[in-house]
């Protein structure tokens, strides 16, 4: 063991998790652990206590109520990838889940853990923004609901307040919509260098409604309003999507690294964005 010393406690109920968190200001929640444990091994994170919520049954289901699908925060990527309910109603979500890491990661990693961690290159955020999902943030004093596009606020930063737990994800059904998630993966981490999620409604080749979410390119996931504006009400063609994708590059705080320097990332953004738009619009 080469982490710092820490206590490990498994919570049996959400209430118990809140209690444990309250006991120790240095405590951290443990879900799938695929980001937290490596950080602890590198001693970049040194929590004094891990509160394991990965087994909480109240955070585990995928269900449909009325026009809304609810996903528990501790549902694994693997369960999302293979959920027949999601495949038939929100196929973009299983598709994105299938592109996360590798099977070992998908078996352990959870959707709530990934969203709360807010890695700038994670896949779900782009999809959540495109689907206009909202997140239930539970706390001992009750809960609040926040739209995905308001949840991500910076590099590894979210709207989660001290002591809050992201407990559920709510996604409205999107009958009659087409959706696509396109990703350019980093070959080592398989995180998105650029990931674009598109939700689109068309009639007679004209874009009636559109939402575009972006991940990977910048410090946190965001909505590409300019691309949406460029396409809303437009007759769709590859030229039109291509032109609209050029607007995607107008992104603040573009990330840059050895694998994808900012000019290349900017170029990738237009390519991946237009691929996602074309697929959603079924333009081949």
């Amino acid at each position: 063991m080469y982490t710092s010393e820490f206590d490990y406690r498994r919570a049996n109920t959400l209430a118990e998790a809140f209690e444990l968190l309250a006991q120790d200001p240095e405590a951290k929640l443990l879900a799938g652990g695929h980001s937290l444990i490596p950080a602890m091994k590198l001693r970049l994170a040194n929590p004094s206590m891990l509160v394991d919520i990965s087994q909480l049954s109240e955070l585990k289901g995928i269900g449909l109520e009325g026009e809304v699908i609810t996903i528990g925060a501790m549902v694994t990527h693997r369960n999302i990838e293979f959920s027949s309910l999601l495949k038939s109603h929100l196929p973009i979500l299983p598709e994105a889940a299938s592109l996360i890491g590798d099977p070992a990661v998908r078996n352990k990693g959870t959707i709530g853990g990934a969203l709360a961690h807010a890695d700038p290159a994670a896949d779900y955020p782009a999809v959540m923004i495109a689907l206009d999902a909202s997140f239930k943030l539970a706390s001992p004093n009750g809960s609040r609901v926040l739209r995905a596009e308001d949840f991500f606020q910076g590099l590894f930063e979210t709207a989660l307040a001290e002591g809050e737990i992201l407990s559920e994800i709510h996604i409205p059904l999107r009958a009659g919509y087409q959706m696509a998630y396109e990703k350019f993966a980093h070959p080592a981490s398989r995180y998105a260098v650029v990931g674009v999620g598109v939700l689109m409604k068309t009639a007679n080749g004209i874009c009636q409604d559109i939402r575009v979410g972006l991940t990977g390119a910048a410090d946190y996931a965001r909505r590409l309003n300019k691309v949406e504006d460029a396409l809303n009400g437009q007759s769709l063609s590859k030229t039109v999507t291509q032109t609209a994708s050029q607007d995607a590059v107008d992104v603040d705080s573009l990330l840059s690294d050895n694998f994808a320097p900012s000019d290349y990332r900017q170029h990738l953004l237009t390519v991946i964005c237009s691929r996602a738009l074309n697929r959603a619009a079924q333009l081949s």
Binding site: M1, Y2, S4, R43, H186, A188, S189, N258, A260, L268
Partner: protein, 792 residues
């Protein structure tokens, strides 16, 4: 009893059940009573003077037993870690396990903590206060050789470790002057991190009662470790040190070398009287396992008016890193310069190598060791020349092969190729991939703005590192023969001991197949024992694809001795003359009298009972043999890679791969194919994905699997494998080697394929790795010059 030969059969590996069910025993799996743990404090600076080290706060931590700094080792008369290969004039600055004066790379050990638990040891590292005085650093070989570069070792002026050359420059210059055509290239062969799946680990135990040490360690060659530790570093009498390499999870060269951590745990176990274990974290593997490649090269090739190869001129700067490790000086010289003739009859080759020290992890042999670098260079130049002459690259190679009747073939760079027949391998590979149709498809796709690339290479390697007198004359500080001991037991079961080591190669299976054939016994009756200096005979270990070519031939010759003795015992038991005894169908019988026969068991039992036994024969049934081959062996082949380049993103994807390897007769095709598969993937890693990147301050930027890209299954395709068989004429089994061939060949094949895909952009060379941003940038630049549009 066995009647069918095991040689050539794809037996499943006997090792695999334990490996794939997690029941293997690796060094880190071993726990001993009263064992304590070591952790290493590594320099965060690439180059820094150590002004002072304050360990008192760390020592005060409960559970901390000992903290060692460089001076402690000097005081204990622990010596520098030597290199195993010398060149005339080579500079040999000391390499202490814990550096006493300054840190020379990020990862250099400045202190070691020994504590009751690993966690305490790791915690204590954070309490050691080191006063570093940062110095300017240099990571690129050519920069290290520049005037005014930071001086890394006072013993090596201008950071020059050695210079080496082969060939007569004046003679070669004259050839170039008269040549009809020439091409030139400037290239960087990217630095690689070996990344064996099992990180390095060492466990040392000192017994006060016997004054003996046992070291379990991740080694490809336990006898070399024992020799270096005993004779040069620790001052332990060689017979008082036992080195055990239990299951080892991959080496690729990186576990040949003598590393500091083994020295530290041995010394600490002596001081504390308790077993001391160290296991690398993955980050430590990145920062301390010897890296591979890292060449900067300028080279030219010329041909005559008929397009026949004439000469090559090569200047290479080979980065040695901060210290010399065990084989480092041999890799960019004898394993590189001497391989530059490839499969072609060059009239002359001149190669000069400059080897500087830099503030980086030491560089040494990594799968292929020098030969991938040579093959990449030669095959890039061959492609460039084919392009210049307007000849198809396959045809250009065919026109230039050393002819099949020219063997043994003396190259202009010292080596004498034992056997070869290059054209059939080329033909077969071209047929397997459908070469002509692919070229047509490529032309059609280019019209659509799609970029297919086809890379074809012919390779040759020298392996089976052997003739001891030869390697000795070239600078090796070790012999390179192998020995074997075969011991039959009273029940007829057989133990085979070898000095080679299996860390993924499947020797327990393939070697047993050969022994079972020779002795005509069931393969299940044979067990291979390796990796323990306390049990096995002397041997120099496994690297350079030498285990079968050298070690297994030693075993074969020991088996001949067993059979010879068994015949004498059979003759006695059957009351016949020795020359009338035949060994067939698993029995020793009298010629013409199949019923007058004795089984191997009968003979082994009688050899041990010695109740009814020849009076002039020693009891027992065991034999050993020391085998020193007369030459290297020279496997060869043709590999063809097909890639498609995404013109929008610059991403390149391998889409087809065919290869024909000739490694002589194949013992176990399943294992040989596995070696080729892994080798191709590893070469693909260098070509497309892998590169250790240092920043200006000497930090290794991608020291984790989040950033450093290892090849994965989905980066590859279903490889099409074929072989031709050209036996080596000089070893008893006729076998060559296959452990490195895939890597040596595939790096160049995939590189040539990517450059071929870039042809419409007017690009005839680009350095590996072919990352998407690099290819995108190259295409952008070309487009600005009006190149690379569809239908170009």
């Amino acid at each position: 009893m066995a009647t069918e030969k095991y040689f050539g059969q794809s037996l499943k590996r006997v090792e695999d059940p334990r490996f794939i069910t997690g029941t293997g025993s690796y060094t880190d799996d071993i726990s001993l009573p009263h064992m304590v743990h070591a952790a290493m404090l590594r320099s965060p600076y690439a180059h820094a003077k150590l002004s002072s080290i304050n360990t008192s706060a760390a020592l005060d931590m409960p559970g901390v037993l000992k903290i060692l700094v460089g001076q402690d080792l000097l005081d204990a008369k622990i010596g520098s870690i030597p290199t195993g290969w010398l060149h005339p004039g080579i500079k040999l600055p000391p390499h202490y396990a814990i550096t006493p004066d300054k840190a020379r790379f990020v990862g250099d050990i400045v202190a070691a903590v020994i504590a009751e638990t690993r966690q305490i040891a790791e915690d204590a590292l954070q309490l050691i206060e080191v006063d570093y005085e940062p110095l300017d650093s240099v990571t690129l070989g050519s920069d290290a050789l520049k005037d005014g570069a930071p001086q890394i070792h006072q013993e090596a002026e201008d950071n020059r470790c050695f210079t080496w050359h082969i060939g007569d420059k004046i003679e070669i210059d004259a050839m170039f002057a008269k040549a009809a055509h020439s091409v030139s290239v400037t290239l960087r062969n990217n630095r690689l991190v070996p990344n064996a799946i099992e990180p390095r680990a060492s466990l040392a135990q000192y017994s006060k009662a016997s004054d003996e040490f046992t070291l379990w360690t991740t080694s490809q060659n336990p006898h070399i470790h024992r020799l270096m530790l005993a004779a040069f570093i620790m001052g332990i009498p060689e017979h008082k040190l036992r080195v055990i390499a239990p299951d080892v999870g991959g080496g690729f060269g990186s576990k040949i070398y003598q590393y500091p951590e083994e020295v530290i745990v041995l010394h600490a176990s002596r001081l504390l009287g308790r077993p001391v274990k160290w296991s690398a974290r993955r980050t430590e593997s990145f920062l301390s396992d010897s890296h591979g490649r890292d060449h900067e090269t300028e080279a030219e090739m010329c041909v005559n008016a008929e397009g026949k190869v004439l000469a090559m001129r090569v200047k290479t700067i080979a980065n040695m890193g901060a210290y010399l490790t065990t084989f480092a000086p041999a890799v960019p010289t004898y394993l590189y310069g001497c391989l530059l003739s490839g499969t072609y009859p060059f009239k002359g080759i001149y190669c000069e190598v400059h080897a500087p020290f830099t503030n980086t992890v030491p560089v040494d042999a990594y799968r292929g060791a020098g030969r991938p670098e040579a093959t990449y260079l030669v095959e890039r130049l061959m492609d460039m020349m084919a392009g210049k002459l307007g000849i198809d690259p396959a045809e250009f190679r065919r026109q230039n092969f050393i002819p099949a009747d020219a063997f043994p073939y003396q190259t202009p760079v010292a080596l004498v190729y034992d056997s070869g027949n290059y054209e059939p391998a080329l033909d077969k590979a071209m047929e397997m991939i459908g070469y002509q149709a692919l070229r047509e498809k490529q032309a059609a796709l280019r019209q659509e703005g799609r970029y297919l690339g086809i890379g074809i290479i012919s390779f040759l390697e020298a392996c089976g590192l052997a003739p001891s007198a030869l390697v000795g004359s070239l600078g090796a500080q070790a012999g390179q023969w192998e020995s074997a001991l075969i011991r039959a037991m009273p029940t007829g079961k057989i133990e085979v001991f070898t000095g080679t080591h299996s860390h993924g190669q499947g020797h327990e299976t393939s070697f047993a197949q050969v022994v079972a054939d020779e002795l005509q016994v069931p393969v299940a009756d044979v067990v291979l024992i390796h990796g323990d200096t306390g049990r096995m005979p002397y041997g120099w270990g496994s690297y350079g694809s030498r285990s079968a070519a050298v070690g297994l031939n030693a075993i074969k010759l020991a088996a001949d001795k067993i059979n010879h003795k068994a015949k004498r015992i059979a003759a006695h038991l059957l009351e016949a003359a020795v020359e009338d005894i035949e060994h067939s169908q698993g029995n020793f019988h009298v010629k013409g009298f199949a019923d007058k026969s004795k089984s191997f068991f009968d003979i082994a039992l009688q050899a041990h009972l010695a109740h009814n036994y020849p009076t002039d024969l020693e009891p027992g049934l065991e034999a050993s043999h020391f085998y020193d081959p007369s030459n290297f062996v020279y496997p060869f082949g043709t590999h063809i890679a097909v890639v498609e380049l995404d013109g929008d993103t610059g991403q390149v994807k391998l889409i087809d791969y065919a290869c024909v390897d000739d490694c002589g007769p194949i013992i176990n095709p399943l294992i040989a194919e596995g070696q080729v598969h892994g080798g191709i993937a590893q070469g693909l890693g260098q070509a497309l994905l892998e590169e250790a990147i240092y920043d200006d301050s000497g930090q290794l930027l991608n020291a984790s699997f989040l950033e450093y890209t290892m090849p994965r299954a989905d980066d590859t395709v279903m490889f099409k494998l074929g072989h031709t068989i050209t036996p080596s004429p000089h070893n008893p089994l006729g076998i060559k080697g296959i452990g490195e061939a895939g890597t040596i060949a595939s790096t160049a094949a995939i590189a040539n394929a990517v450059v071929d895909a870039l042809k419409p952009f007017g690009i005839d060379h680009l350095d590996m790795p072919y990352t998407p941003s690099k290819l995108w940038r190259a295409m952008q630049t070309a487009k600005q010059r009006g190149l690379g549009q569809a239908a170009d």
